[in-house]
């Protein structure tokens, strides 16, 4: 088995996998169909203010698992769908941002700054085309970087990191995530700590289920889907309902501006935009590779960098950033879209999720089984096939199918999505709530799970009210078990050395960085002010 054989097997696993139906004798694999479905759903939810990719992923995951079952054949269709949603939502988010000055996803906020002024000038279609082109370019670039980097990173990790170093790496990533998500490291640490506390209920090595107060409901721990959906989705719904209740509904009239002038994207436009797209794609990819930072910061950084370049190079007649400059849209969209691919680098090579979308990919892999993202996946075994590696290359194939869809039909579909803004929130939110609870029940088939989900929803609501980001909670919940296991293993493997985290230089560096990143994040605001 050579590397090329694995790539080929991965491609085959997608195209020749279980077939949905055949057209003129040509079998269409279910995986391709699921990528398409996910991509279209993704664009729709991305274009709907109040929904985002992770919400759709959260709700569809349990339903998909119950439909496809737990066999290895289920992995690629389910993961393909989720990847489709992830990519679709990224381009969908720009639609309401450009057309109605309302970002569909938080990372599209910067797109409103130049997108909406272009719409007001009658250039809506052109703005959408620029957003789509930049987004698809950034996304594709990021995927290429992922495919090139992830295997090497995994092999380095596997070759040089022993059990204590792996434990230290988990601690470092949790500390990093706590420090960078949500602005305040203290709040980040609270969120992380709550996540760890929740995941450690009922689990552990001992036969007595710890922290369960002797109750049977807590003895097997919280179902992972309850915790993740509860805090991320139900919490957001509760918060949304509250906001709806507080705000007087603004008048529903949406101004429609007639398009005027040339709406096409010319080669000259692309040439002019290219430096902005390239720069933002690099920024987004670099940020995406670090766990936890996310696409909103990437968009902000890409926009800011683009702005300073534009100031120097623009002609006097060109609009400034913020006044409807096509370069502004390009810089933002290329940056926020190039996060998604690179975000899978830590997921696949370390098993560490960096954002909400990655959380659901890991969740899918863990729920279905047979694929455990982490350094062991990238073992290029020669004598026998490593099935997990085939799945990885299958995954890469689905990403490129999604990119292909993005380049071909994505733009057309996206430009028809302006209608999604008309869905009123007071109808949307209860539907999301109902769907999420149904999804939980489908997967867990017991009422206790529903109760837990609602309780986590209340927790998520309060966290949002107190401006504590729920994402560190979720990531800590997912990593908590791995962290405990690797810590116990490292402790045992070193013959019970209590200082196992500090004896090897690599582990020591990771531990110092874990403390350092928190201190640095705490001091930064003071330096600025």
């Amino acid at each position: 088995m050579e590397v090329l054989d694995y790539i080929w097997l991965g491609v085959q696993a997608v195209f020749l996998g279980p077939e949905a139906f055949s057209v003129l004798g040509l079998p269409i694999s279910i995986t391709i169909l699921m990528v398409l479905a996910g991509f279209l759903v993704g664009i729709m939810v991305g274009a709907t203010p109040g929904l985002a990719g992770p919400v759709a992923m959260a709700i569809s995951l349990p339903i998909l698992i119950s439909a496809f079952g737990y066999s290895e054949d289920a992995l690629l269709p389910v993961l393909g769908f989720l990847i489709g949603v992830m990519k679709g939502a990224t381009i969908g988010g720009a639609v309401p941002a450009i057309l109605f000055n309302t970002p569909g996803t938080p990372d599209a906020y910067m797109t409103t700054l130049d997108g909406y002024p272009m719409t007001q000038r009658g250039q809506a279609k052109k703005a959408l085309r620029i957003a789509h082109f930049s987004s698809a370019s950034g996304d594709t670039f990021s995927d290429v970087v992922l495919i090139v980097c992830a295997p090497f990173l995994a092999i380095i990790v596997e070759a040089y990191l022993d059990l204590p170093e792996k434990t230290a790496l988990f601690i470092l990533s949790l500390s990093f995530i706590a420090a960078v998500i949500g602005g305040s490291p203290a709040k980040g640490l609270i969120s992380t700590g709550l996540g760890l506390l929740a995941v450690y209920i009922g689990t552990g090595e001992d036969f007595y289920p710890r922290l369960s107060f002797g109750t049977e409901q807590l003895a097997s721990g919280f179902p992972i889907a309850s915790a993740v959906l509860g805090v991320l989705v139900i919490g957001a719904v509760f918060k949304g309902l509250e906001e709806l209740w507080l705000e007087k509904r603004t008048s529903g009239n949406i101004a429609v501006v007639q398009d005027s002038g040339d709406q096409r994207l010319h080669v000259g436009d692309i040439k002019r935009l290219f430096p902005f797209i390239a720069r933002s794609a690099f920024v987004g990819t670099a940020i995406g590779a670090l766990p936890g930072i996310g696409s909103t910061l990437a968009a902000t950084l890409g926009y800011t960098l683009g702005k300073s370049r534009h100031k120097k190079n623009k002609e006097d007649s060109d609009p400034n950033f913020g006044e409807g400059a096509p370069e502004g849209i390009a810089a933002t969209e290329a940056a926020n879209s190039s996060v998604s691919g690179a975000n899978l680098i830590p997921v696949l090579s370390l098993g560490i999720p960096g954002n909400a979308a990655a959380v659901f990919l890991i969740l899918a892999a863990e729920s279905i089984g047979g694929f455990n993202p982490g350094p062991a996946v990238f073992k290029f075994t020669v004598d026998e096939v490593n099935p997990e590696l085939v799945i990885v290359f299958g995954l890469f194939t689905t990403m490129f199918i999604a990119n292909g869809l993005n380049w071909t039909i994505g733009g057309i579909f996206m430009r028809s999505m302006g209608i999604m803004i008309r869905i009123p929130k007071h109808i949307l939110l209860p539907i999301v709530l109902l769907l999420a609870l149904t999804a939980i029940y489908v997967q867990e088939t017991n009422m206790a799970a529903i109760g837990f989900t609602l309780a986590f929803g209340v927790l998520g609501y309060f966290m949002r009210t107190l401006a504590i980001s729920p994402l560190p909670f979720v990531i800590a919940f997912i990593l908590g078990d791995k962290l405990e296991q690797s810590a116990r293993q490292a402790f045992a493997a070193t013959g019970g050395d209590p200082f196992f985290l500090f004896t090897s230089p690599v582990a020591l560096v990771f531990m110092l960085l874990s403390v350092g990143v928190i201190i640095y994040a705490t001091r930064k605001p003071k330096a600025n002010s």
Binding site: Y70, E72, L163, E216, S220, I368, G369, N446, Q489, A492
Partner: protein, 316 residues
């Protein structure tokens, strides 16, 4: 002549009816909750789900599979013990869950609180190492440990960790016993070089056949299929073995006809060589073993009692 043929036919038909009637006599009063003690997607989980699928197809019984993982199957047993014993709730675990694990959990339950339905397969439980390390049997590993090499020993359950400990005691060496969840995780750790040797119960087959891995010892009371020459636990100074089976159980006091119907139905699935599940069992677990009825109840009871002896030996 004709008359006797007719008689024979009647007798044959009657015989058939009688033979099938014990299975047809009992039908579950509703959908059956199937609790599974293993991580979704693993070999054991697949086995449980495939058996359920086959029973749905052949008998029309309806199964609702549900994962109740954790605590080496004790979580499942606790959940199962509170469920109705009319055949609408059964669980799949391993015999160790009802033995060592149940006993050390001290959960107020014993093996007698469950009705044994059928085992499906035993394990090819071996101590596995990498061929590249040059060890041929566990004796070589012990010799290396005596020379001062740190040996990391992967284990997937406290019972096996106890056995590793007894092996240390008997041979005057010390291992660093590292706990993993499931044999597949131990195997990954061996392949990744995180541990030197470890207990694996089946998934090592491919690697052993390919020559990358070596079975250094059998953890069973009998030799391994792939490496019959590997020393047994008794050759290594340990008086215990880790024989064990996948087992379907129900709550205490299930009706005898339900117990029998499940036993027969499960046995008929895992002994049918054309089915996918049987192929998996043959490949990974070295073939089906169906122990049922009073023999199974006795096996579970012995496992529970025997666990006490192992714990005592460790604590001495």
């Amino acid at each position: 002549m004709l008359k006797s043929m007719f008689k024979a036919t009647v007798a044959a038909v009657a015989g058939l009816v009688i033979a099938t009637s014990s299975m047809a006599d009992w039908t579950p009063p509703g959908p059956i909750k199937l609790l599974i003690a293993f991580r979704a997607g693993g070999g054991a989980d697949t086995q449980a789900r495939l058996i359920a699928e086959e029973l749905e197809a052949s008998l029309g019984w309806k199964f609702i599979p549900e994962q109740v993982t954790g605590k080496g199957g004790v979580n499942l047993l606790k959940a199962l013990s509170g469920m109705p014993n009319d055949g609408t709730a059964i669980g799949m675990a391993v015999t160790e869950s009802l033995g060592y694990n149940l006993r050390s959990a001290n959960a107020g339950l014993t093996a007698a609180d469950f009705t044994g339905l059928s085992t499906t397969a035993g394990f090819q439980l071996a101590i596995v190492g990498r061929t590249a390390d040059g060890w041929k049997t566990m004796h070589d590993v012990i010799a290396a440990a005596k020379e001062g090499k740190d040996i990391r020993f992967g284990s997937m359950s406290p019972r096996l960790a106890d056995m590793a400990y007894l092996m240390e005691e008997a041979n005057g060496v010390q291992f660093n016993v590292v706990a993993y969840k499931g044999g597949k995780a131990v195997l990954d750790a061996i392949n990744a070089g995180d541990v030197d040797v470890g207990f694996v119960a089946g998934p090592q087959g491919k690697g052993v056949a390919a020559g990358d891995l070596v079975e250094l010892a059998s953890a069973l009371s009998k030799p391994l299929n792939a490496t019959p020459d590997a020393p047994l636990m008794s050759d290594l100074g340990v008086d215990f073995d880790a024989d064990g089976y996948f087992v379907f159980v129900g709550p205490k006091g299930m009706p005898a006809e339900a117990q029998e119907a499940f036993g027969e139905a499960i046995a008929s699935v895992v002994s049918n060589p054309d089915l996918k599940v049987t192929k998996i069992i043959n490949k990974v677990f070295g073939g089906a073993t169906t122990i049922q009825g009073t023999e199974l109840d006795q096996l579970l009871q012995d496992g529970y009692e025997g666990a006490g002896a192992l714990m005592e030996a460790v604590n001495q």
